[in-house]
């Protein structure tokens, strides 16, 4: 058995990637119309596509849309406001680095930190618990991320955290938003590339009913360059052949049933509830909240979070004119939005697409759209 490092590198072999890209171009060509639009619903897919420069090798006729796959971007303003308000009430806040600069209605956690609030960035919820044990303060973990990340939060809650530790959950659950996007009347999405690590937890079986309901193919894909290209190739083939099926292109991590133990832990602690996703829509069952049995570690029930003080200074909401939802559904471009580049800029984003460094609006704002990078001399 070869060392997996070498295998990881084999998933990164440029020569195979070129053959995959050729095959992808051919499969798109066989469909005979352009563009063929598919959507990934995973920020890590976008990060990997960007990191490896894969957009430069996608065929022109293939439109790979970035869906609502960044949990931090879709965290709604009032959820950030709750964390900011708690910090203002003297509670110590732990957060993942992704969330620190995301603006709420009035300010971000980074702004609160600059004003003296106790806010620490952690890499793991496990580290947050360790820090809470050493602290005399009330400590709240501002929990962001999809089900993959929520499982870790749930595990920590079940492992007897210290009495001064509680959780403010902004966790999101991805399957319901795929329904929303698929049901948008003007949606042009012809297939979904599903997130490999969320599916590691939930299993690919969860997509079977989705495929039936919407007659759209779903391919579960991993995150190495070959994983992504192979996932797209399979997806485009399914679109070409008119086959609405689930295909698992990430078998080394994803099974049909998924990680049963993790599911047990997840659903023991969390229940799905409806809520707004920033710039998209109200998503039924899209938010993960703590069950009643865990009220003692639920920051929303442990503290009276006073948002009104914060909102006294709030500017009128611009969010109504944001077209993020349409951009993520593939039916609008950033330049169709009246806020783009004016009220909505990277420093002061309104919608989800401007929050993330890989968000469509952010990328357009920074670079004036996706550039064709194939032309320069070496």
């Amino acid at each position: 058995m070869a060392e997996p490092r070498a295998d990881t590198l084999r998933f990164q072999d440029p020569a195979t990637a070129r053959r995959m890209a050729d095959a992808l171009a051919r499969a798109v060509g066989e469909i005979g119309r352009a563009p063929v639009s598919v959507m990934h619903v995973c920020g890590s897919h976008e990060q990997a596509i960007a990191k490896y420069g894969l957009r430069a090798v996608f065929p022109r006729g293939l439109n790979v849309i970035m869906g609502p796959g960044c949990p931090v971007c879709v965290t709604d303003l009032p959820e950030v406001d709750e964390a900011v308000a708690l910090a203002g009430q003297g509670v110590r806040i732990f957060t993942y680095g992704d969330m620190l600069r995301v603006p709420g209605t009035v300010k971000s956690l980074a702004d609160a930190q600059a004003e003296g609030a106790k806010i620490d960035v952690v890499y793991s919820v496990g580290h947050a618990v360790q820090l809470a044990r050493k602290s005399a303060d009330e400590c709240v973990f501002f929990a962001s991320g999809f089900e993959t990340t929520a499982v870790a939060t749930a595990a920590v809650i079940l492992a007897s955290p210290p009495a001064n530790f509680s959780v403010l959950s902004a966790h999101k659950y991805i399957p319901p938003v795929m329904e929303i996007v698929a049901e948008m009347p003007e949606t042009r999405v012809e297939g979904f590339l599903a997130a490999g690590h969320a599916a590691t937890i939930t299993g690919w079986g969860i997509f079977e009913r989705f495929v039936e309901r919407h007659s759209l193919p779903v391919v579960v894909a991993g995150f190495e360059p070959l994983d992504i290209l192979a996932g797209l190739l399979t997806l485009v083939e399914l679109v070409r052949d008119g086959r609405a099926e689930v295909f698992n292109a990430y078998p080394r991590c994803v099974t049909r049933e998924g990680n049963r133990r993790a599911q047990e832990v997840l659903w023991k602690v969390f229940k799905p509830t409806g809520g707004r996703w920033r710039g998209i829509a109200h998503v039924p069952n899209g938010n993960l909240r703590l069950r009643d049995e865990f009220a003692s570690v639920d920051a929303r029930r442990r503290f009276t979070i006073d948002l009104t003080k914060l909102w006294d200074y709030a500017p009128p909401s611009l969010a109504q004119s944001c077209v993020c939802g349409d951009i993520m559904a593939g039916i609008a471009s950033p330049t169709d939005c009246p806020l783009f580049g004016r009220e909505c800029v990277p420093d002061n984003p309104v919608g989800a697409c401007m929050v993330s460094t890989e968000g469509t609006c952010r990328i357009w704002h920074q670079y004036g759209g996706h550039l064709n990078l194939g032309e320069e001399n070496r």
């Binding site: 058995m1 997996p4 490092r5 295998d7 990881t8 084999r10 998933f11 195979t16 053959r19 995959m20 050729d22 095959a23 051919r26 499969a27 619903v41 995973c42 920020g43 890590s44 796959g69 960044c70 993942y96 890499y123 793991s124 919820v125 496990g126 580290h127 991320g145 999809f146 993959t148 990340t149 499982v151 870790a152 595990a155 920590v156 079940l158 492992a159 991805i174 997130a195 490999g196 690590h197 969320a198 590691t200 937890i201 991993g222 995150f223 070959l226 994983d227 192979a230 190739l233 399979t234 292109a249 990430y250 078998p251 080394r252 991590c253 990680n259 049963r260 133990r261 993790a262 832990v265």
Partner: protein
């Protein structure tokens, strides 16, 4: 959305493992991994938690799957490849 990095288990102590990420070692929690793990096993890490024991044969299976994909594409594509080869060769000449 979920940054996952594979690593190899060096040692296990209760629900904690030391994992080698081919460069740095770090502790990873085993509370939610799908199967029991032992030193030498490969896992997928997310935010300091193992979320999957990666069966070694599945790595080969993935590679086999990708070979299949390419083979399926190239079998009925030999003609096209020849044509493409000629085009490339012509372009090379032009550039050269």
């Amino acid at each position: 959305m979920c940054l996952g990095v594979p690593g190899k288990i060096v040692s296990v102590e209760g629900t904690l493992a030391t994992v080698d990420f081919w460069g740095v070692k770090r502790e990873v929690r085993l509370d939610i991994v799908d199967e029991p793990v032992a030193p030498g096993d490969y896992i997928m890490n997310h935010v300091g938690f193992a979320i999957r024991r990666i069966p070694p044969d599945q790595i080969d299976e993935t590679l086999a799957l990708y070979d299949e994909l390419l083979k399926a594409m190239s079998e009925d594509d030999l003609m096209a490849a020849d044509v493409r080869g000629e085009i490339n060769a012509t372009e090379e000449k032009k550039r050269g």
